[in-house]
């Protein structure tokens, strides 16, 4: 009897078949496209990774503005945490990050957060703010792609989105004061320790995340 032969059968994947992944087929069965999600994730974590790099330079040019520096450090470390959180998901979806880091940077879904030509605190804060806004758009896109079909990726994306929205609020507050002398509260303050990442590290998928 077929059911006896296939006691652990799952959909179209033969028992013991390691060439296919039920974790991908369940997404397909629900109308999602696991390959498309995976490729989007590579672009999105490319942006987290490049931002981690570029924020290093931005942070080092904020000397004398220790509060700005601390918040930039928070955002920098949390962006790295986002890369770490989602990277394993790329492999679970049968992919890999590009072998060549240049390919990875080129396909990042957000612009390079270069140090501005005139690196005043105001100009640096504007770069930081626009980088965070790009990240908000990207992770909202990932949420849209996965909401109905891929709860695991959706959970990661929405947790990252929470932190990116915090970051936007921080940089709106700081830029408003620095540039316009206006109080425009974020409504919350920086983390206990830089890089706390309370949403993306509260349920880490691996020890390094």
């Amino acid at each position: 009897m077929a059911s006896e032969e296939k006691q652990h059968g799952s959909g179209s994947v033969e028992p013991g078949d390691t060439s296919q992944r039920v974790g991908m087929e369940v997404i397909r069965e629900r109308g999602g496209d696991p390959e498309e999600i995976r490729e989007k994730l590579i672009d999105a974590i490319g942006a987290e990774f490049t931002t981690y790099y570029y924020y290093t330079n931005l942070r080092t040019h904020l000397a004398g503005n220790e509060d700005y520096k601390e918040i930039t450090e928070d955002a920098r470390l949390e962006d790295r945490a986002h890369f770490e959180l989602v990277m394993p998901r790329v492999y679970e979806l049968d992919g890999m990050i590009p072998n060549d880091i240049r390919d990875f940077a080129d396909r990042a879904s957000c612009p390079d957060a270069n140090l501005p030509e005139d690196p005043t605190p105001e100009n640096i804060l504007e770069v930081l703010l626009e980088a965070e806004r790009c990240a908000i758009r990207t992770w909202s896109e990932v949420c849209d792609m996965t909401r109905e079909c891929d709860p695991r990726t959706y959970d990661m994306a929405q947790r990252i989105l929470q932190e990116e929205m915090d970051h936007e609020a921080w940089f709106i507050e700081l830029l408003s004061m620095e540039r316009d002398g206006e109080v425009n509260p974020a409504g919350h303050f920086v983390r206990g320790e830089p890089g706390d990442a309370p949403y993306s590290k509260n349920n880490p998928f691996n020890e390094s995340a």
Binding site: E39, F104, D106, R107, S109, C110, P111, E130, C134
Partner: protein, 123 residues
């Protein structure tokens, strides 16, 4: 005096992943507005991601007219030569007719000219 506005016809391809596939949607876009934002405000949901003229998700083909693409973070002469536009950062400079949902075509075009994001997204 009000801002100058232009009429923009958006041809949504038959095979587009959109509720409006196969339609031609006409909207008004101000000279200081981006085509993507104007379309979304008019209820036409077009694909986008960064909205900074970088990622190419919003790519469209410019069938008629002229745009100012100077706010895009990554836009090349070869894009202009081939009438490819990034509508997230494109402001109209005349009435326009564009074909939306050209991300794949844009990726192939960029790969052909060895421009970012290159070949790695084409699999």
């Amino acid at each position: 005096m009000g801002e100058t506005t232009y009429s923009v016809e958006i041809v949504v391809p038959e095979d587009a992943d959109s509720e409006r596939a196969g339609e031609v949607v006409e909207i008004e876009v101000g000279e200081e507005e981006y085509v993507l934002a104007a379309a979304r405000n008019e209820g036409l949901w077009l694909p986008a991601d960064c909205q900074q003229g970088w990622c190419t998700t919003c790519a469209a083909e410019l069938l008629e007219g002229e745009v100012d693409q100077s706010d895009a973070k990554r836009y090349y002469e070869v894009d202009d030569d081939e009438d490819m536009t990034l509508i997230c950062t494109a402001k109209p400079r005349s009435d326009l007719r564009i074909r939306s949902h050209q991300h794949r075509e844009m990726l192939e075009h960029r790969a052909e000219y060895d421009k970012p994001p290159g070949k790695s997204k084409l699999g």
